[in-house]
Amino acid sequence: MSSLFAFTLLGLFTGAAYAIMASGLVLTYATTRVFNIAHGAFGMVLAFTFWDFSQRQGLPTLLSLFLVLGVVAPAIGWGIQRFVTRGLGEGPVSVALVVTVGLLVGLIGLAQYIWPPEPRVLLPFHAETGWQVGDTYITAHQLITIICSIVVAVGLYLLLNRTRVGTAMRASVDNPELLKFFGGKPDTAAALAWAIGMSLAALAGILLTPVVGLDYYALTLLVINAYAAAMLGRLKSLPLTFAGAMGLGILESLAVAYLPTDGFWSTIRPVIPALFLFVVVVAMPQTQLRIGQVKGIIAAPVPTVRKSLASGGVLLAFAFVLIGIVSRADVLLIGVAATYAMVMLSLVLLTGYGGHVSLAQFTFAGVGALAYAKLDEPNLLGLVLAALIAAAVGALVALPVLRLTGLYLALSTLAFAVLMDKVIFQADFAFKFNGTLATERLSVFGIQIASDTAYVWFMVLAFVLMGLFLLWLRRGALGRILIATRDSPSGCGTLGLDLRWFRVGLFSLSAGMAGVAGALFSGLRGTVGAADFLYFQSLLVLLAAVVFGVTSVTGSLLGGTALMLLRSSSPELTAVLFAILGFGAVLLARDPNGTANHLFKLGRWSTNRVLPRWEEQFRERLDGLLKANRPQPARSVDVPVEAAIEEPKGVS
């Protein structure tokens, strides 16, 4: 009994830190409707900053703490709200999600660049001090954490209920337009919310660092804990958020105490937040359809059938030549690029056309790979089965969030990706911890595609077929309905579309496509393991897809190639490239057509403007030559000639 008390008490300490992190998340989301997935990442960077001030530069602890919490964090928060996230709340949810995922990846890159990997220790506050309470030892750090959380709770309560700006913050939750109308300043309220939110992220990060370590990824993932806690209060209620955080902390602590320390159950502990999250999400009541068109959506360009067939043919021919020229290692890299490109195609369907965001797309590829390896059926049937299994898993992920909106779906996919990465893929029935599975390359109609060159070309072919399939979908009824659901969900609902099942179907189809990519990838390698499908890959895939154009097949091709280059670069360069990709996505997320669309524009511009001009110049010169060599023809003859010259301009 006393140990139950002891572990509950210990859970409260972690819970208090989670509560601080979660309240910052709720504060920023509620006032600006931008869910900051990078909340944990900011906490991570600021914890590193604190380490830098206090350990590397040797400033006194209190001064460092003041500088981080009182100066650096609020300044960053203000800047992010002012220059990055302002106005995102009114746009499509997918854009805000991509921007904050961009921040997350960018910050990880930045942190790795500024503070390259090396052992760093951030000691608990007053590490030597502690008290014996019954059979529990309470450290000063734990006591400080609890006191901080109480101060934060009381402070936030006073701010929101007793001050003018707090009232403005609460008002901007409901209607920023109206607030502006009545002379309030939603921008001030938003900037303040982000400044405070960032300080809270920093505080929680610093308090949790002695527990989780000064680690780029572990601290970043704390956003899932915060999100799980905040979900209990529907991302709105601070008291419920605190309750959720404490509950989560106690649950984790009890898991440490009572779950077996070996075997499958020992791996559960790190994913308790994710599991907690699923339970809360499933228990949440149904949300109502949002009324009001989503503004500012740019239509995705759809090429004609002939053009897409021709482009596919050109790509296949180009790949054939390229595969023939380059070295064996580079051939395999082309296969990797094709894998990424196929996963991105699945995102074109889900995000580009459907407006939903998945943060687990590469995990679905992993499911496909695992299924293909386990089935041991190296033929088209095995490929199809692997795709179906990935699709079924995709449906399972979407089902619990069936009744909720896109934001919750996206966030739950992140929790799912972490769950798969840390538990399922490493379990004995899957790839095993640090283990791999051997796979065989598939046979088509009894002939095995054994050689690297043939197999990689087959992968390019699969990409082309998948792209054609996607464009066929887009041109048909399903494509129109996809656009319609994105433009006005309630419009679709009142026409009789069951949006919930439609979304599950879409999600499942997209997961199936990613599954095909994963299955083919496992054949490329010959062995696959859990390390190939880290959750972080999914974030990179999403960002690369958005940067290069998530609404077009061309974007996927470019994005796949870019990601392959990124993954094969040296570790030092990777940090910089992460930062470029992440912050690039922040800049480009507002235009989902991405870089590909600029290429299309350039193409159209050149065919419409440059080519006719060259043609004109060429004709003028030709004309000049003809005139020089020939006597002037009679005027009556001149007219039809001019007309003939004019004609092509109109046609082009």
Partner: protein, 262 residues
């Protein structure tokens, strides 16, 4: 008469926090008839529509449709059973063309099996566009056409699903006089075909000429019901609209109701 009643709103209350948007509303819509729902802004008309279509759960009360209690039905299920609507704040599919807006409605109505069938006839779509009078805009993006046309587009879209009950939320705003006249004729035609039409409208000329019955809402309550002639002379209605109140004669919503009292 009971057999012609298609929709029955029974004692519906909707509260948003402390505000009661709809208070004990009760009215019916009959097959082949046009029922008007009028009242000042904020009277709860659109909220009534949201309750009927399932976009808003009532705090209490029932909605009966074709003699079945549909209060707990999902939005799409009601639509499948023939409840169609247009929106006051436009819900057209902005990035699709006008023609594709109607086409997609037809496809949604056709169900999942129809999505995989290639091609599909555009004839029905073009007839509908012609019928509501926006055939000229067929190729244009739905978010680039005038408001009046977009409202007609929403009507065409609703009609593509072959509704038995049609809810129109301020359908004529944005239309000029000639267009409004043509629109009134269209409504009568639809009613003659057996459709029950429930209409929220501010254009009193239109309401008085096409409606068979009118309900007047004020602060969420129905303050008067009857034929256009009854409503025109109803003292409660005049007070609500024109502010003929003993203690505060200045309050009111004059601009909307000038046509009521000649």
């Amino acid at each position: 008469m009971a057999s012609t009643t298609l929709l029955e709103v029974d004692d519906v209350i909707v509260r948003f926090g402390g505000v009661t948007a709809v208070n004990h509303a009760a009215f019916t819509a009959e097959r082949g008839r046009i029922t008007g729902l009028i009242g000042p802004n904020g009277a709860g008309k659109t909220t009534c529509f949201n309750v009927i279509t399932g976009l808003q759960k009532p705090t209490s009360g029932r909605v009966r449709y074709r003699d079945r209690d549909v209060t707990r039905w999902a939005v799409n299920r009601r639509a499948k059973h023939g409840i169609g609507r247009t929106f006051q704040r436009l819900e057209a599919f902005g990035s699709l063309s006008v023609r594709d807006n109607v086409r997609v409605a037809q496809e949604i109505h056709g169900g999942p099996l129809a999505w995989l069938r290639p091609g599909g006839s555009l004839l029905g779509v073009d007839i509908l566009l012609e019928r509501v009078g926006i055939a000229d805009y067929a190729e244009e993006r739905a978010d680039s056409i005038p408001t009046g046309a977009a409202r007609l587009l929403e009507l065409a879209r609703a009609l593509a699903c072959e509704p038995q009950l049609l809810l129109l939320d301020e359908p004529s705003s944005g239309l000029d006089e000639t267009e409004t006249d043509a629109f009134g004729d269209l409504l009568k035609e639809l009613a003659d075909e057996g459709c029950a039409i429930l209409m929220v409208e501010h254009d009193m000329d239109l309401v008085m000429t096409v409606c068979d019955e009118i309900h007047v809402l004020d602060f969420g309550e129905i303050i008067a019901s009857g034929t256009p002639a009854d409503i025109r002379t109803d003292r409660n209605v005049q007070r609500a609209y024109l502010g003929y109140s003993e203690d505060d004669p200045a309050a009111g919503h004059t601009s909307e109701m000038e046509v009521v009292t000649p």
